[in-house]
């Protein structure tokens, strides 16, 4: 029996969840940017965006995370671990490409050691995705063999009803079911016309690309230099990407006390692979761009059987010089013909 959540009842759900101890997080427009942030009322949520500028990665892997405090004493060093803030959260209105991004990173953060910062937040979060009825020129989920209604990484998928009346509920996981049992009386049983899903044209042949990338002869191809000439080596693409996960560990403090922090880092930075000897194995932008593409579509899937890309298109959308994964893979598709 299908269930429906009408939009005008959303605030009741928010109140119910809040009284159950959840923080409600969703897409908002704030200070001239769209992002996911905590809200007090449903009215603050903005469901009209194609997708927020920033992804939900920020909610699981923050830009800068304190890990431990240290105090250097005469005979010893005292340390105090800093744990992520506790508390269950409901992320209402994530895009499917954001949720799938999180599930792509799960095997990485649980690979050779379990990253407690990631998993504590993952375990405390219920991700409710809303299928996309709008897409723009940069969306490419379908090229990554996903879709505007992908369920990967989501606990509940909401399908928008025609006329902006609300959503049809698809419960996917136990965690989702539990969260929705708390609002069972607010949901209505029944069906209604669904709004049509966004049409996202396939932009490139992923299999052909991956085959080309896996061929060792193409590592030294002139293609890399040509495609990356305009790349300026900023970290816009990396930081907005739901699946990019590199980080740097820095101690911030003075002579006797400080905090050890985990900060985002990017393989696009010139100094990313700089050794203390002064040697830099990736000293050119083309080597760095090649690394980015190879990592996402060759090395990462080699280890974890999934491409490190959810097709959200933020990289291309935000790039100051109009580069991005899409165009590179489109070019590679033609090369492999």
């Amino acid at each position: 029996m299908t269930k429906i959540l009408f939009s005008d009842k959303l605030d009741n759900c928010v109140e119910r969840w809040k009284s159950g101890g959840f923080t409600i997080i969703g897409p908002v427009q704030r200070a001239n940017i769209s992002t996911y942030a905590a809200v007090e009322h449903a009215a603050e949520l903005d469901f009209g965006l194609v997708l927020p500028d920033r992804s939900i990665k920020d909610l699981f892997f923050p830009q800068s995370e304190p890990m431990l405090r240290y105090t250097i004493k005469k005979e010893s060093i005292d340390t105090n671990e800093c744990l992520p803030p506790a508390g269950p959260r409901i992320i209402f209105g994530a895009r499917p490409c954001d949720a799938s991004g999180m599930s792509i990173d799960d095997p990485l953060f649980g690979w050779d050691y379990k990253d407690e910062y990631w998993f504590q937040r993952r375990n405390e979060s219920v991700i409710i995705t809303i299928a996309c009825t709008k897409a723009d020129d940069f969306c490419m989920c379908t090229s990554l063999k996903m879709a505007p209604d992908t369920t990967k990484g989501s606990d509940i998928l909401l399908r928008p009803l025609a006329g902006n009346k609300g959503w049809q509920v698809e419960e996917l996981t136990d965690r989702g079911r539990e969260a929705f049992s708390a609002i069972a009386d607010i949901l209505q049983e029944g069906a209604d016309t669904l709004a049509p899903l966004a049409v996202v044209e396939k932009k490139f042949d992923l299999d052909a690309c991956v085959t080309w990338l896996q061929n060792p002869e193409n590592f030294e191809s002139r293609f890399w230099k040509e495609i990356s000439m305009r790349c300026i080596g900023c970290a816009s693409c990396t930081y907005l990407c739901p699946t990019c996960h590199c980080f740097d560990i820095q101690d911030e403090g003075d002579t006797y006390t400080g905090i050890r922090r985990k900060n985002w880092d990017s393989c696009s930075f010139a100094l990313f692979t700089m050794h203390t000897s002064g040697h830099n194995p990736r000293s050119t932008q083309s080597a760095r761009w090649r690394q980015r593409i190879m990592h996402k579509f060759n090395y990462f899937p080699g280890k974890f059987s999934v491409n490190s890309c959810s097709g959200c298109g933020r990289c291309s959308r935000q790039c100051p010089v109009d580069m991005g994964i899409t165009e590179t893979l489109q070019e590679i598709s033609t090369l492999s013909l």
């Binding site: 997080i25 920020d58 923050p62 995370e65 304190p66 803030p85 911030e252 003075d254 905090i259």
Partner: protein, 149 residues
């Protein structure tokens, strides 16, 4: 009954004029407010705006910068460069909202022990009236806090 607020003030001074002036204030047994920690540099030309920012980041409520009078710089023109730098930096801090009254500049020569003592006293009073730089302290505290979400 709250305690009087004692501001923390950092002073960046040049060796050959202001520091010598401070010495003179000391040997002349002039009294001046103890709130200022003096950091001695060879010349005001060495003072980078980073020093001022770092002082504020570490909790200073005010910053003083002082050196030789124009024309008298021990290194001939270090203070001319410094003067231009401060002019520009002041406008920048003002535009960002860091009150310009919290960063003060002066020329104090080696012979001006009295001026030094008076300067320290008046600046300490000014900053005391301004109160602690709360907007900045809040940001400093935030760096000690766990990630917010």
């Amino acid at each position: 009954m709250s305690e009087t607020f004692e501001p923390k003030i950092i002073a960046f001074v040049c060796t050959y004029c202001t520091y010598a002036g401070a010495d003179l204030a000391g040997t002349s047994r002039l009294k001046y407010a103890p709130n200022v920690r003096i950091i001695r540099l060879p010349c005001t030309g060495r003072i980078s705006p980073m020093f001022i920012l770092k002082a504020l980041q570490k909790g200073a409520d005010g910053v003083l910068i002082s050196g030789c009078h124009p024309g008298d710089c021990h290194f001939t023109h270090g203070n001319y460069h410094a003067r231009r730098r401060w002019m520009v930096f002041r406008a920048l801090l003002d535009f960002i909202g860091i009150p310009p009254e919290r960063v003060k500049y002066s020329w104090i020569s080696a012979a001006e022990g009295v001026k030094f003592a008076e300067f320290i006293n008046s600046v300490t009073e000014d900053i005391r009236k301004l109160g602690p730089f709360e907007q900045y302290s809040q940001l400093i505290e935030q760096t000690q806090a766990p990630a917010s979400l």
